[in-house]
């Protein structure tokens, strides 16, 4: 088997259209010192790779590329790690095909 090329999610998100609601993130990560296992799993499970680890080892979210699937809500809302809403009307991802 050949070596697997690394997948760049950023390139995939580039195909999509978004209307970003600047300054109003629809998902917020609760401040923490050590991330829970649920929150850590989002580094891999988020299909838009919105979740990243900062240099202090905490999980941060950038919602600009969010495709509004709800996976992080299913995994992390119950443990209180995140607050999850839909973007304001008209904002967020705008699917051309869906």
């Amino acid at each position: 088997m050949s070596i697997e090329p690394s997948v760049r999610v950023e390139d995939k998100l580039f195909y999509n259209r978004y209307l970003v609601d600047a300054g109003r993130a629809h998902i917020k990560v609760r401040p923490h010192t050590t991330p829970s296992p649920e929150l850590l799993s989002m580094l891999k499970a988020c299909p838009a790779r919105c979740y990243e680890l900062n240099d202090k080892g905490q999980v941060e979210i950038t919602v600009d590329g969010c495709i509004e699937c709800g996976t992080c809500r299913v995994i992390c809302e119950g443990s209180g790690d995140i607050e999850w809403s839909y973007p304001r009307g008209g904002y967020g991802v705008l699917f051309k095909f869906g």
Partner: protein, 435 residues
């Protein structure tokens, strides 16, 4: 605040919401439909296959102007290991009929058309409006909704929750629980564009004929999941989905899975040279009959994906959504016609009617399948596909080995992998869950 009071508010403009809003408006009710996207369809994601029968019940002459892609004449089921697939294909010229049964569609375009029909029937459709919570009276009865628009409380006799798989409003109001990670799948999908002639040549299609491939096996890396490839007119919808709990457990990435599926030697030639124009992700209800929540209450009903109405075995969802939306609307119309209030007792008519339809009957038939597939994922998605591939190759490869020995080798490989009791147990469990 919008002073006007409506007979019904429909939250969401997907398949279920549009079916409900259309039916209510056709029956003469005063309907407000709220949608958070810039138009109906701009937030909606599906494979997508449209089932004509369920749409005909709403819009009999839909074929005249609906944006349909291809009518399906062929279905391929693939059981895949890393280098092969064993296929079961069904193709029939009977599907080239005057009123075809299934079509591929592109949801953003289809839903926009559907929404136009809802408007033409007389409903008020308000887009770019996110409903933030349900408005309830002191007794908990739902009396309307609050939106993110200024002074956004709007009242109605009944609220139809067609809010999709995430079902945020119902959860916030305590009407049902948030879906858990073992009851929903995450699917990712890309739209691959190719010239029409190329698609037709690669998939053996003529004119508007279409085909779909549903694939399972090692592509899901031992997780419970499936891949799909749907031929549209000038593009191919290609995606893969697995249970959220499995992603969480394994640390596999959805995009990594998608790209491996695309590079599979059986798949890569089909999309070679294509231009990708969109990457989407969506949750799919997978819990089946046992995951269906409370469907009605004081002043509300829930329809479609928000009610977890999805048949994971047959890959059907949009038809269950449309049908539940239509039936909920018909129940509401009957209650309204009798001049009765929209109480839980009166709205239980919706559940009664739904129970009698194919929606609940089908989900009931497969009530044990989700648990079986989810607990036996290693066997059904890794072990068996690999065994079948080896058996097929052993059968086909001509190398001087006597056939008797070849058969022995195949039998031994099955026994070694699963043991006699394991094989019989799997067959028995599958048969029992299927019946």
């Amino acid at each position: 605040m919008i002073e006007e009071k409506f007979d019904a508010i429909v939250v969401g403009a997907g398949m279920a919401g549009n079916a409900a809003a259309l039916t209510l408006a056709q029956r003469g009710l005063k309907v407000l439909q709220l949608e958070r996207g810039e138009y109906s369809g701009s937030k909606n994601v599906q494979g997508a296959i449209l089932y004509a029968d369920m749409l005909e019940k709403l819009i009999p002459d839909f074929r005249e102007d609906a944006p349909l892609e291809r009518h399906l004449v062929e279905q391929r089921f693939w059981m895949m290991d890393d280098r092969s697939h064993t296929g079961l294909h069904y193709r029939s010229d009977d599907f080239n009929e005057e009123r075809p049964n299934r079509y591929t569609i592109i949801r953003a375009q289809f839903d926009r058309w559907f929404s136009q029909k809802v408007r033409e029937a007389g409903a008020t459709v308000l887009c770019e409006t996110t409903v933030t919570e349900l408005a309830q009276d002191a007794y908990g009865k739902v009396i309307g909704v609050r939106t993110d628009r200024a002074d956004g409380e709007i009242h109605a006799d009944v609220v139809v929750l067609a809010e999709g798989v995430n079902g945020l409003l119902g959860t916030r109001a305590g009407l049902r629980k948030r879906p858990t990670a073992d009851k929903v799948a995450l699917a990712v999908k890309e739209m691959h564009f190719l010239p029409r002639e190329t698609i037709e040549a690669r998939f053996n299609l003529r004119g508007d004929e279409g085909m779909v491939i549903e694939a399972a096996g090692t592509i899901s890396r031992g997780m419970t999941g499936m891949g799909f490839i749907y031929a549209n007119k000038e593009c191919i919808s290609l995606g893969i989905g697995c249970l959220v709990a499995d992603f969480q457990r394994t640390g596999e990435t959805p995009y990594g899975l998608l790209d491996r599926f695309k590079r599979h030697p059986s798949v890569a030639p089909l999309i070679e040279g294509s231009e990708v124009k969109e990457y989407a992700a969506h949750l799919i209800p997978e819990g089946g009959f046992k995951a269906i929540p409370q469907l009605y209450g004081e002043g509300w009903v829930v329809v479609g994906d928000a009610a977890q109405l999805n048949n994971a075995i047959h890959r059907e969802g949009s038809n269950l959504a449309m049908t539940s939306g239509r039936i909920a609307a018909e129940a509401i119309f009957q209650v309204k016609s009798r001049k009765d209030p929209m109480t839980a007792e009166n709205l239980s008519l919706y559940k009664k009617m739904l129970d009698e339809s194919f929606v609940i009957k089908d989900l009931k038939k497969y009530k044990d399948m989700p648990a079986l597939m989810h607990t036996q994922s290693q066997n059904f998605f890794l072990t068996y596909p690999e065994l079948v591939s080896k058996a097929m190759q052993n059968f086909l490869r001509v190398d001087g080995t006597p056939k008797v020995e070849k058969e022995k080798t195949t039998f031994k490989s099955f026994i070694k992998a699963r043991s006699w009791s394991g094989l019989f147990g799997d067959a028995f469990r599958l048969a029992r869950a299927w019946r």
